[in-house]
């Protein structure tokens, strides 16, 4: 009798805890989803990139090498120092015009790329410097080998509303190719989703990621992230 009474009390208390927890969670969820920065998921990703006008699809060569060996890039290159506008005014227009020529000279039209791109397309963009590359894996994986010139920008660098320094080195008007470990890895899509909040619309996911890049015999470089030096 006493034992069954105790079990009934435990069950009642459990239901009360579940009820309170769910109520608080739903209220919190409602507040966040009604706010300016609701939770977003990757299922709707890429729609904005696909909607961009064809006239602005061409690109300009990025200068990832400027950051690869030196944390203070030249101001007249495609990258900009942290805290400043990535590509203000005339420089952006000049780059765009340059890009128009570069993009179509070899018959490769980067503006026609789908949201998700193949290894060959990623390599063509990298070789002709038509896009900036972003590695979204763990830093130790990036350190072990990444696409030369790629920035290290995993989604967790954006945690609690922070703006990672690498964002200041990217230009929202240039194509940005994001990759991770291939397969089912979501890291590149997560970073792409967060970059959309900064006005990046020309985002591409290199779906097969670094394993396919290495398998295809394309070059990689090792070493820590030149901007942050790694996780802090």
């Amino acid at each position: 009798m006493g034992r069954s009474c105790g079990a009934r009390a435990v069950l009642g208390q459990s239901l009360a805890i579940v009820g309170v927890g769910l109520t608080v969670a739903l209220a919190h969820s409602w507040v966040v989803q009604a706010s300016e920065r609701p939770i977003r998921l990757t299922s709707g990703l890429g729609a904005r990139s696909a909607e961009r006008p064809a006239a602005t699809r061409s690109t300009t060569p990025p200068a990832p090498a400027a950051i690869a060996g030196d944390s203070a890039p030249e101001p007249d290159q495609a990258t900009a120092p942290p805290g400043s506008d990535p590509m203000p005014g005339d420089a952006a227009q000049d780059s765009l015009e340059q890009g128009l020529g570069t993009g179509f000279d070899n018959g490769f039209d980067p503006g026609a790329l789908a949201f998700e791109i193949s290894t060959e397309e990623a390599h063509a963009l990298w070789q002709d410097e038509l896009a900036m590359f972003v590695d979204t894996r763990l830093h130790r994986e990036y350190e072990g080998g990444h696409i030369p010139g790629a920035f290290w920008l995993p989604a967790d660098l954006f945690s609690r509303g922070r703006t990672p320094e690498a964002v200041n080195f990217l230009d929202p008007d240039f194509p940005v190719v994001l990759y991770c470990g291939g397969g089912d890895c979501d890291a590149s899509k997560n970073t792409a989703l967060l970059l959309e909040n900064y006005g990046f619309t020309r985002l591409h996911i290199f779906t097969d990621g670094i394993p396919a890049w290495i398998e295809a015999g394309h070059p990689t470089e090792a070493g820590p992230d030149p901007i942050t030096g790694g996780p802090r």
Partner: protein, 187 residues
Amino acid sequence: MSTTPNPRPAGAYTGGDLAPRSAPSNVPGPRILLELGVIPLRLILGGLFVFAGVIKLLDPQQFAFSVSAFRIFPPGVGDHLTIVSTFAFPWAEVILGALLILGLWTRASALLTTLLLIGFIGAIISVIARGLAVECGCFGKIDFICGAKVGACTVARNSVMLVMAAAILAIGGGRLSLDRRRSPSHR
């Protein structure tokens, strides 16, 4: 003033030295040891749960990525369930952790903690079985004992916590718990 009735007549034989008597001892009984031993279990498990929950609540977007990466929910309703889970799991952890620390409704909290951990372990095993490379997000960016990616170590870590929760469920709140203050006979 109440008096306790004594059914024995005065001078009646009380057993004297011949009566079996438990030896007086300062050694605490096993029940007391259990009730003292459950205190660190409550504090450690409760503290871990509160910590893990608060970290997730501070950055729900990152935790939503982690929940989504597990690919547990079916397409269609998946996004809604992912968003609800993004808030429900951390709040459950905070509430259950706080109740375990306080020793309030301890058995109910331990029961729900046990069920939650069984769910977590099941989800992790399912991810491993499907060969997904998923970052746990269990303690945010902090690699507590195990690395960022889910694997056997994550299962083992959660299993240890499961054993702790099951022990609290079996023993109850023990000493220094609000349950004990509310009802001294409460076990």
